[in-house]
Subunit: 354 residues, 2 copies
Amino acid sequence: MSPRTKSSTPGAPTIVDVARAAGVSKGLVSLAVNDRPGVSDATRARVREAAEQLGWRPNLQARTLSTQTTYALGLVLRRDARIVAADPFYPAFMAGIESVLSTQGRVLVLSVVGDAEAEERAYRSLAADRRVDGVFLNDLRHGDDRVALLAELGMPGVLIGRLDHPGGLPAVVLDDRPGVVAAVHHLADLGHRELAYVAGDPALQHARTRRRAFEEAVAARGLTPTAVVDTDFTMAGGATATAALLEGRLRPTAVLYANDPMAVAGLGALQRAGVRVPDEVSVVGFDGTELAHHTWPALTTVRSDPEQWGAAAARTLLALTSTGSAPDVELAPAELVTARSTGPAPALRQAQGT
Amino acid sequence: MSPRTKSSTPGAPTIVDVARAAGVSKGLVSLAVNDRPGVSDATRARVREAAEQLGWRPNLQARTLSTQTTYALGLVLRRDARIVAADPFYPAFMAGIESVLSTQGRVLVLSVVGDAEAEERAYRSLAADRRVDGVFLNDLRHGDDRVALLAELGMPGVLIGRLDHPGGLPAVVLDDRPGVVAAVHHLADLGHRELAYVAGDPALQHARTRRRAFEEAVAARGLTPTAVVDTDFTMAGGATATAALLEGRLRPTAVLYANDPMAVAGLGALQRAGVRVPDEVSVVGFDGTELAHHTWPALTTVRSDPEQWGAAAARTLLALTSTGSAPDVELAPAELVTARSTGPAPALRQAQGT
């Protein structure tokens, strides 16, 4: 066993010292620092000030016993390690969560799992071990059975996105569709008639939503998609899909990708094949990552702000775990950010003599 | 308060059932499942099989009380959220950690903090709250005071990299230098005489090590660096440094970057300025990320395998927390992977008429 120091050392301040300094009972100190009802705002402030001045902090295990909370939230990522490493979405989303948790002395418990079975085991362990007060339900799937699982486990959860059957769980939603629709109109306005879409993993709700938004917007402009290719969201998938599009019967003049890493890989694949971007093919990403800003040409992309999403999700889950309920949150929808990777369709370019 | 179901439901298997099925005492079941000494391998296997068949798992709080372990490890990232989001190193490193923890029912507790004060608070909280059995000490700094902090807290830790004063902590080391040295020789062999280096944050030990390796290798070839620019490791920093290099008195014919995201941003900045890569300027990254593989031209880079590093670190920290000691681990050093972003120096190219 590793050595461990006791957390209470001689002379260290105790709850008794805080109670005395604040002029209240020990019980009231406990209620105040644990955000329980029955304490006036003025008293709560006085207790916190006394605790701060004395350098006293409530012991977690004591807090856990008295409040039945663990002061931790859980995130389970069921993703291939390779995808986690290449996709900037989750690091940004987690940074947003941490920006809220760190100000409240809370921590994030993270599990990365490879398959459905390991995922279920992870949620069951978090509940059985009382590791966390609640979890984020991310990468929502059609008919997601994690909603029923959380109900069985009595575990609070927040949906990251919208589900047809939310099972009473609050949802923190950022609507992808307006950004995708705006991208299609942007390209159609530039004279593009042959639009292709490199979609994500069709098992994921948000991948399906983006794909449907693309298809509906293309139809609304009286067009038919040149091609739609499902992928696994990886850069390799984006490159392979792009190579297939170049070999297709009808070559698209514009390709939209379901995330920025695939768009970057697609851009590379086009350039490798000697295709000029945007002169011959326009490219649109999704996520609005820093990466999109630094390629050449810089990527037109759909900005979704995963950091703000993570922060809103954390606030909602904290509200849910402390009060038992929380309203849905609707964030500002994804929006198109145009850059140099999109331009007039080749036909229009020719007509203009450019 | 949110609803919570009790973890023991009527009819659920108990430790008594497991003991009966395995034909051993309750105490022996506890020793067996907690990996304590005094149990033969055969008995341990029999107990585990009985537990598996009955669907029984030891309760974490009971385990924690009996073993004084939390079955969790901690990682504190002191980084700007923007950098965490753009740098593929940590997601890959964490995926490596998780690949080991997930097979052992252990979890990772993650804190992302903005500054030194919040960082110290994070380690103190992890210890005071008994959240974790040990921590990874990453992003090592010159004269890192976290070594003394862990000693004060009695918290086991593993160094991710080498420190001059390791304070008795085991180190899991992946030597960056051979890869950087190989990159310099690769460029010098291609006729480059004007080599520039876009370094990382000089406060970080690994950024200093890579920079020194570059400077020593350049000197070993009888050359002087054209320029060395410190940055904050961000893509924006890489782009700005590249723009500055292009405006310098002497333009480099090859630029090495301290990570792949900066190299990608540098490639973009060069192409934006109309500089052909590698015809006019060769580009070298560092990390060997998937991203480097998908740009055009694909990046010559130094591969360091952060996933393997995370897995080795997790195994070492688990050994340390369960036995009290663990040997240093030296992983295969970083190695050069050449691709299309490096080519003959312009002078040599001209002489060869290419």
